[in-house]
């Protein structure tokens, strides 16, 4: 806050040396937004008041509740009677942390996230870089497909993939069976969790690639052609050009997209939940599903919130990193 104040008090001074670089969301032209009118010192607080109340009621207060509930024992009975649940201290946490299922779920969640994020980012970068080099009509086709895929609601995308991988009439099985020597007729992809998670991973990656490609492609167009050419003239091979010229330019965007992907893929819920017909088996539990099942199937709301709290804590490092990047780009000024 103090940084913002000083910056606003002396806009043209040292705090932001290169103002005319023309970042598009920059400050308004004349003088900055500095002067808070003395008469209306309360006005901004009145204006953000309703938003703050709303956010506090739906985000902040429940977060506090999460912490409180995870130290209590809240079940169905307390929910319906409104009695305040008994305090149990760290019991929920010790139960969960002592449960081997929790550890296997956590491991699965992290593994799934790592695989999905690395595949999404590498494929996304590959497609984005090739898009610069393909004929315009191919690029146009591909962009159209990307936008169409991007606009699909998660629920619809998951339904389609469920239908694609249906054991009896799914097109994946009937196409694979056409390959001589393979018989996938009636093959159930979800009996083996590894195969099941492959299909789920496919939905996740398919759904995430459009955003990654379009964002990275936009970043790649910012790479100065002169620099690439100069590097080539100096004898750099294509890896050298990428490593020393292209990547440094797109790095901030790449990091931002990768961080968002980590956050999104760590919180995967719907794709698994919907793919398994709203009743995921224990093998298909990721942290989000695990917490949901504990609360709404086993009616142990406190254990559910304790797991959710652990998830938030696990993610908070990534979230802090994301926040720092945003601060660095100067969006929060």
């Amino acid at each position: 806050m103090t940084a913002a104040d000083t910056e606003a008090a002396a806009p043209p001074a040292d705090s932001e040396p290169p103002p005319p670089t023309g970042r598009k969301s920059g400050r308004p032209k004349g003088g900055g937004r500095a002067t808070a009118r003395t008469g209306g010192a309360l006005l901004p607080y009145l204006l953000i008041g309703p938003a703050i109340v709303a956010i506090a009621a739906i985000f902040a207060w429940p977060l506090v509740q999460t912490v409180i509930m995870s130290f209590q024992d809240m079940g169905r009975r307390e929910l319906w009677t409104g009695d305040s649940p008994p305090w149990v201290g760290f019991e929920q946490f010790s139960t969960i942390l002592g449960d081997s299922h929790f550890w296997s779920v956590t491991f699965k969640t992290v593994l799934f996230m790592v695989v999905c994020v690395s595949l999404t980012m590498s494929l996304g970068l590959l497609i984005a870089m090739s898009m610069q080099r393909m004929s315009p009509w191919v690029r146009l086709l591909l962009t159209g497909a990307l936008i169409a895929a991007w606009s699909m609601p998660l629920l619809v995308a998951t339904s389609v993939f469920r239908w694609l991988s249906d054991s009896d009439y799914g097109v994946i099985n009937s196409t694979l069976s056409r390959i001589p020597g393979l018989d996938f007729q009636g093959h159930n992809w979800f009996l083996n969790p590894w195969q099941g998670f492959t299909i789920i991973g496919a939905v996740v990656i398919w759904g995430a690639i459009p955003f990654v490609v379009i964002t990275l492609y936009a970043a790649l167009t910012q790479v100065p052609k002169e620099l690439e050419e100069a590097a080539k003239l100096d004898g750099a091979n294509s890896w050298g050009v990428f490593h020393h010229v292209v990547f440094p330019v797109i790095k901030p965007v790449f990091q931002m997209v990768a961080t968002l992907s980590v956050i999104w893929d760590f919180n995967i819920f719907g794709q698994v939940f919907l793919m398994r017909g709203n009743k995921p088996e224990p093998e298909y539990e990721l942290l989000g599903i695990y917490s949901f099942q504990k609360a709404f199937t086993s009616s142990s709301f406190s254990q559910g919130t304790a797991i959710a709290l652990i998830t938030v804590l696990l993610l908070s490092g990534v979230a802090a990193y994301y926040l720092r990047q945003l601060l660095k780009t100067g969006e929060v000024e």
Partner: protein
């Protein structure tokens, strides 16, 4: 420098040929090198196109395919016969029309509310400098990183104690606040691009602050508010989890929950499911096309909602 500008206007990526103008054979060599490259990238691009487009293609194809062909062990990859049976069956299922009604009531109310709260808050953080402004902006980002599934249980318990379970307003409030942070963020981007002088001169000419806002600011913010409301509408329309948990009566289900319950104990009617999915997706696709350009930029600059 002039060579580089011409190089940039030509489409290809490797334009080193342009750097050596005097030699005659250079352009030919350059063309000979470029050809196979492009073909490789084009093939890769077409493969990527097929992979990305196929699920969407299959969705539409299956929605229009007669049930006899859907229940076939040998799926034809190409359109055969077209029928609207699936759509008729989907719309004739119970609670379809009430689901449309619920979805519309909930989404429109939530978005309108979010726009009112969002615009005034965005105006405050875009125009005034006050203690806590930066903290408020950080809060806007942090709440979007919170996993919705983690918030689900406490919100459910909270709504339960407020008697908001199974009520429209319970879902409306949740949706309103979920889209609020990124709406504020987005509209703020438009606020800071309106020169302060415009407003000030209106006030010098005798407008009150309120009038200056309505007559000068608001028309300039309108495109931003429109874009933010389309984003919010898409987000709210696509949400299914909170609606699924909060709503208990069949006739209060939103369209997504209606679609979630398409699978019965006797198996899944995939033709109907695909037709239902098309119905759910069409408004989203239309709105998405309108705001797609802003989507990528918005996502990387702090508006996190996907």
């Amino acid at each position: 420098m002039s060579t580089t500008t011409t190089a940039r206007t030509s489409e290809g990526a490797d334009t080193e040929g342009a750097q050596t103008p005097p030699k005659k054979p250079a352009p030919r060599r350059y063309r000979a090198e470029r050809r196979p490259n492009r073909i490789g990238f084009n093939i890769f691009g077409l493969v990527a196109f097929v992979v990305m487009a196929f699920p969407v293609y299959w969705l539409v194809l299956s929605a229009f395919r007669p049930n006899s062909e859907i229940r076939s062990y040998d799926q034809s990859l190409f359109p055969t016969s077209i029928t609207f049976d699936n759509f008729v069956r989907a719309t004739e299922t119970r609670f379809f029309w009430t689901a449309i009604q619920s979805s519309l009531i909930i989404c429109v109310t939530a978005v309108l509310g979010a726009m009112v709260l969002g615009t005034i808050a965005a105006f405050a953080i875009g125009r005034f400098n006050f203690v806590g402004r930066k903290a408020f902006m950080m809060v806007l980002i942090v709440v979007q990183v919170l996993p919705p599934t983690a918030m689900l249980i406490p919100i459910y318990v909270q709504l339960n104690s407020m008697g908001a379970l199974n009520e429209y307003w319970g879902v409306i409030v949740v949706y309103l606040v979920s889209v609020l942070p990124f709406s504020i963020w987005m509209i703020r981007g438009f606020v800071i691009n309106v020169p302060k002088e415009l407003e000030e001169s209106a006030m010098v000419d005798g407008c009150s602050r309120m009038q200056a806002f309505w007559k000068v600011m608001f028309p300039l913010l309108a495109p931003g508010i429109a874009a933010a409301s389309i984003f919010s509408l898409i987000t709210a329309w696509n949400e299914y989890l909170f609606a699924y948990v909060i709503m208990q009566d069949n006739d209060k289900y939103t369209l997504n929950v209606w679609l979630m319950n398409f699978t019965t104990d006797r198996g899944t009617d995939y033709g109907g499911l695909m037709a239902g999915s098309v119905i759910v997706a069409v408004p989203v696709v239309i709105f998405f096309m309108i705001v797609q350009k802003k989507m990528a930029a918005g996502l990387t600059s702090g508006a996190v909602k996907g």
